[in-house]
């Protein structure tokens, strides 16, 4: 199964290297979600290799990594879109199997996908409630859904859309992203994962999403944010996890990192300016 070649195939990492990162959860607390040894491949591509990850409640975990590191695949695996080839997931200490997006939603996991998961032909309200429509006996309760959607958007200061009933196809990229974020936080969830939520956003909307992330954390939710913007990461994150070519190469409290070490881990899978992490894999080059 290991496709890595000494000649430096695309999968990179040294063959047989022990990529495990030992994670010490804060004493006495079981993280909300704990991944152990998650692997996932697509054909010849080993997208995730033996990944461990802890997402504690009340903390923001920033997931970093270069393009193609496997961040989105990991997110989708937790969300139930991809099934892992092996590995375990523990939710509140309990072994769980997430087979579908419905499963993850029923656990209390909400996801903002990088490739925005909105239906262009539906309007904002219809998208926000997709799959969880409010019903009035047999029929859609449009009034109630529209009111709730409007409240959520207002609380997120999403004020630039002209009408909450306009099809998503008529929105700008940033507006779509704002709708996707609003869709994820509208539900009483326990874990919110945001895959590059600010990538297409303007200054004000980025501010709004970062504030929102902090607010979610203050409400005791576990938050996982993927971002390439280290300013954002160091502003909101309590913990940092770094993926490199599908392996988790570093994971610790943010105080254990500085910008340079995060960049080192992202680009080469190792850092000479090791601060406090215990054991990381030694990717070559």
């Amino acid at each position: 199964m290991d496709m890595t070649t000494p000649e430096g195939g695309p999968a990179g990492g040294a063959p047989g290297s022990e990529g495990r990162v030992l994670v010490d959860p804060p004493a006495g607390t079981e993280p909300l979600l704990r991944l152990r040894g998650i692997s996932k491949h697509f054909g010849a591509v080993q997208a995730l290799f033996d990944v461990d990850l802890d997402l504690p409640a009340g903390q923001v975990t920033a997931l970093c990594g270069d393009n193609g590191a496997g961040k989105s695949v990991l997110t989708k695996t937790i969300a139930g879109i991809h099934q892992p080839d092996k590995g375990e997931m523990y939710w509140e200490g309990r072994l769980v199997h997430i087979h579908s997006p419905k499963d993850s939603a029923s656990l209390g996991i909400e996801t903002v996908y990088q490739d925005l998961a909105l239906a262009d032909n539906l309007d904002i309200v219809q998208n926000m409630f997709l799959g969880r429509e409010r019903l009035n006996r047999l029929f859609l309760n449009e009034d109630s859904m529209e009111r709730a959607a409007a409240e959520t958007l207002a609380s997120l200061h999403v004020t630039t859309v002209r009408s909450i009933r306009q099809p998503v196809a008529t929105l700008s990229g940033g507006q779509r992203q704002a709708v996707a974020v609003a869709k994820a936080v509208m539900w009483n969830s326990k874990l919110v994962m945001l895959d590059e939520p600010t990538a297409a956003l303007g200054v004000a909307q980025t501010r709004m999403v970062l504030d929102l992330v902090k607010r979610l954390k203050d409400h005791g939710l576990a938050v996982m944010v993927i971002s390439h913007n280290l300013n954002d990461v160091f502003e909101v994150a309590d913990r940092v996890a770094v993926l490199h070519l599908g392996r988790m190469v570093a994971q610790d409290r943010i105080s254990a990192f500085d910008r340079e070490s995060v960049v080192d881990f992202m680009t080469s899978g190792r850092s000479s300016r090791q601060v406090a992490t215990s054991g990381s894999s030694q990717g070559r080059n």
Binding site: V45, A117, L130
Partner: protein, 451 residues
């Protein structure tokens, strides 16, 4: 190096596929690029202005099909012998003929909405009509309602079979239903047996009389007026209450004028239909009244509209048609929705088949199901349903079916043979698809300008 290249090629392919899959929904994205005017307008005047802007930007909505209907009407009224095109008798006849196209088109819309197609419903409809006819023959003689229910159940089963094959074996609906078109044609011939046909023309068999009465029995004028009053009052009242309620609580609602205009339009159209049908159209014996097929078509239309626009199931159909991956991530049972779409399509086709059987007094092996299914697709597309999926309404079947029926009827009056009818309908379909494509292209251009 070659080995490495190979490997990289192999590595890149899946992400290319993923990229393509992600790019695909954008085709549909362009289909609805302009904000519908009724959402933003505060007054009827603003609405009209926004509507004109939208039409000019290329997204003409139902305008082309209504214009086509008006144009066809004017032309045929002028050229038809003795100008009988708009006579009450011919108008009722025209609707009877259109009914099959309308209902078939409404069936096809269920699958077109998902970006699928069903090319078998011509013969599925025929089987529905034949089964209903067979069940009221003297040797079986089921009550008419049981005959209809059993026939529709059989059609739904055929649709379920199509849907299951398409979703479980992951085959294109185009191919599966093309195979179905041949398969059910053969099954139809077997059912009809050596007689080669089934007739429901008996004047003593009560249940046959009910079936043939779908087209050839008429509602008492007084009752039809009362029925119209009730329908307009209920429909208009609920539209009015809903819109004013939403307006009062600050929800998005069309301007008052638009609500009133819609209610008025329903009332006027209803009055026109009932009035025309209640003029004597008999040449020797008086023939008066609305044929039962009119309320039947309206019921199919109403049920489809409620299902698609006011129920969770319909919402999920639009979602799957617009972006199946988004629907899946939102927890929608995409496979179930797709299967049900084929069930609904074939079930509705069964209703069309029963109407056909009623109108022609039976069905023989001469029925051209392959042509009817093309008319069904044409009706939906002419009405404004997109072949790409995600955009379509039940009303499109009514509008498109009327256009096809009008052409069919008008050319028949002129004594022109089937070949001209085929050519004319083909041209109208081509025009409809062109308008659809142009509006999408125009809308995309519009969005580029706006961004």
């Amino acid at each position: 190096m070659a080995g490495v290249d190979d490997e990289q090629g192999g590595v890149k392919a899946p992400s290319d596929i993923a990229a393509e899959a992600e790019a695909a929904p954008d085709l549909t994205a362009a289909a609805v690029e302009v904000i519908p005017p009724e959402i933003l307008a505060q007054s009827l005047r603003q609405y009209l202005r926004a509507w004109f802007t939208r039409v000019r930007s290329g997204d003409a909505g139902v305008l082309p099909v209504v214009a086509a209907l008006v144009a066809v009407t004017i032309v045929f009224q002028i050229v038809s012998p003795n100008h009988i095109y708009l006579s009450p008798g011919n108008l009722v006849n025209l609707f009877d003929q259109s009914a099959v196209f309308i209902v078939l088109g409404m069936g096809e819309i269920f699958v077109l909405l998902l970006g699928e197609i069903d090319l078998s419903i011509g013969y599925v409809a025929a089987i529905g009509g034949i089964l209903a006819g067979e069940f009221v023959q003297p040797d079986i003689n089921w009550p008419w309602w049981a005959a209809i229910a059993a026939a529709l159940l059989a059609c739904a089963g055929i649709g379920a079979l199509h849907g299951i094959i398409i979703t479980r074996l992951r085959l294109p609906s185009f191919v599966v239903t093309l195979a179905g078109n041949l398969f059910w044609f053969g099954v139809m011939i077997i059912i009809l047996g050596p007689a080669g046909g089934v007739a429901i023309t008996s004047t003593i068999q009560e249940n046959q009389k009910v079936l043939s009465g779908i087209v050839y029995a008429y509602i008492d004028p007084v009752i039809s007026w009362i029925g119209l009053l009730v329908i307009v009052a209920l429909l208009g009242g609920s539209m009015w209450l809903r819109d004013t309620g939403r307006r009062r609580s600050g929800l998005v609602a069309p301007p008052v004028g638009l609500t009133l205009a819609k209610v008025a339009f329903i009332a006027v159209a209803g009055i026109a239909v009932v009035a025309i049908c209640n003029i004597n159209r008999g040449q020797y014996l008086p023939i008066i009244g609305v044929p039962w097929v009119v309320p039947l078509v309206l019921v199919v239309l109403g049920v489809s509209m409620v299902l698609l626009e006011h129920m969770q199931f319909g919402r999920h159909m639009y979602a799957v048609g617009g972006n199946p991956e988004a629907a899946r991530r939102a927890g929608v049972g995409v496979t179930a929705i797709r299967t049900w779409a084929f069930v609904l399509c074939s079930l509705t086709a069964g209703i069309a088949g029963i109407i056909y059987c009623s109108q022609l007094g039976g069905i023989t092996t001469n029925i051209n199901g392959g042509q009817y299914v093309l008319y069904a697709v044409a009706a939906a597309v002419i009405g404004g349903t997109s072949l790409i999926g995600g955009r379509g309404r039940a009303i499109h079947g009514l509008l498109g079916g009327l256009v096809i029926g009008a052409i069919y009827n008008g050319l028949y009056l002129l004594g022109l043979q089937i070949q001209w009818q085929l050519i004319a309908t083909g041209l109208v379909l081509l025009a409809a698809v062109t308008i659809d494509a142009l509006s999408r292209r125009g809308a995309t251009g519009g969005s580029l300008v706006r961004v």
